[in-house]
């Protein structure tokens, strides 16, 4: 069952395809396979997950609107942080990046003078340390280019700075699926919000292409 769950949604990765079938199948998968990381990747593509995210995002955005300063760039940043936080909450803490996002928020709340940048680990002088997988003489992994790119990737995915390569790859796969869902949900929300003022757009925009600014 898990193998078919991997094959089918990845093959049907275009957005306007069989949503209802995927939704019922993924709802069943959610209850049956709670720990399987392969089905969590497909869960991000399900419509139910997007609805959960959208409603939570809406509540979070209302809090942002009430409590943030009126200047535009700071509010945009606050919206981004709220969106990331809601995304991490929707992940239910199964992945490292989601836990790292939530932990970073707590750190920033306590250290109020801490500037909002990447949380740089001090003392990490890059002394050419190998990842732990390279004990075997594998073909591509010992290339410095691959290791360099893996390090860059580990900086992009939150919470993966010191992880070995397979962990980074797993986290990146899930993180990309989550980000795609986030983009889709936020663009749908933006369409709805801009459409409610003009009453022009139809409500069923979930499979539509992204708006061009």
């Amino acid at each position: 069952m898990a193998s078919t769950a991997i094959a089918n949604p990845v093959a049907n990765s275009n957005r306007a395809s069989t949503r209802k079938k995927k939704k019922s199948q993924n709802l069943r998968n959610q209850t049956q396979n709670p720990d399987n990381t392969t089905t969590t990747t497909t869960q991000w593509k399900s419509e139910a997950q997007q609805q959960v995210y959208s409603s939570k995002l809406l509540q979070a955005l209302r809090n942002v609107r009430v409590s943030s300063s009126p200047s535009a760039p700071k509010r945009g940043r606050a919206v981004r942080e709220a969106a990331d936080r809601v995304l991490a909450v929707t992940a239910k803490g199964r992945t490292r990046w989601s836990r790292a996002i939530l932990t970073n928020r707590l750190k920033l709340k306590f250290l109020k003078n801490h500037k909002r940048q990447r949380v740089v680990v001090t003392g990490n002088g890059r002394p050419a340390k190998k990842p732990r997988v390279s004990i075997l003489r594998l073909k591509t992994k010992n290339l410095p280019a691959v290791q360099r790119k893996a390090r860059v990737l580990s900086r992009l995915v939150p919470g993966c700075r010191k992880q070995p390569l397979p962990v980074i790859l797993e986290e990146a796969t899930d993180y990309i699926a989550a980000l795609e869902m986030q983009v889709k949900a936020m663009s749908t929300l933006a369409e709805l919000l801009s459409g409610s003022g003009s009453n022009a757009t139809p409500p069923n925009q979930l499979g539509a292409s992204r708006p061009s600014p």
Binding site: A83, V157, P166, E170
Partner: protein, 92 residues
């Protein structure tokens, strides 16, 4: 952090080449650029590079969308009727 020593007795690190290639191919299938059927041919370096680019693109899109959403939120004064409408539309 993650100690996978107990998985296999032959390799000391416990993570095989097949496992890495499996993860890389899975990652590759998520990327929109490489729809390569013979995924063994795509090098790990290219997959990683494309992954980094794709994640950066997604981050930029999320930033743009959040800026747009913040502007839209400013224009909505009374939040509750619109929020109720939007919620009902979303959860259909």
């Amino acid at each position: 952090m993650s100690s996978r020593r107990s998985r296999q007795s032959t390799e000391t690190s416990g993570i095989t080449d097949n496992q890495i290639n499996d993860l890389v191919s899975k990652l590759q299938q998520v990327l929109p650029e490489i729809r390569n059927r013979r995924s063994n041919k795509a090098s790990a370096s290219k997959v990683l590079q494309d992954t980094c680019n794709y994640i950066r693109n997604l981050h930029r899109e999320v930033d743009d969308l959040s800026d747009r959403l913040s502007q839209l939120l400013a224009t909505i004064d009374s939040d509750s009727p619109e929020a109720a409408i939007i919620r009902s539309l979303i959860t259909e």
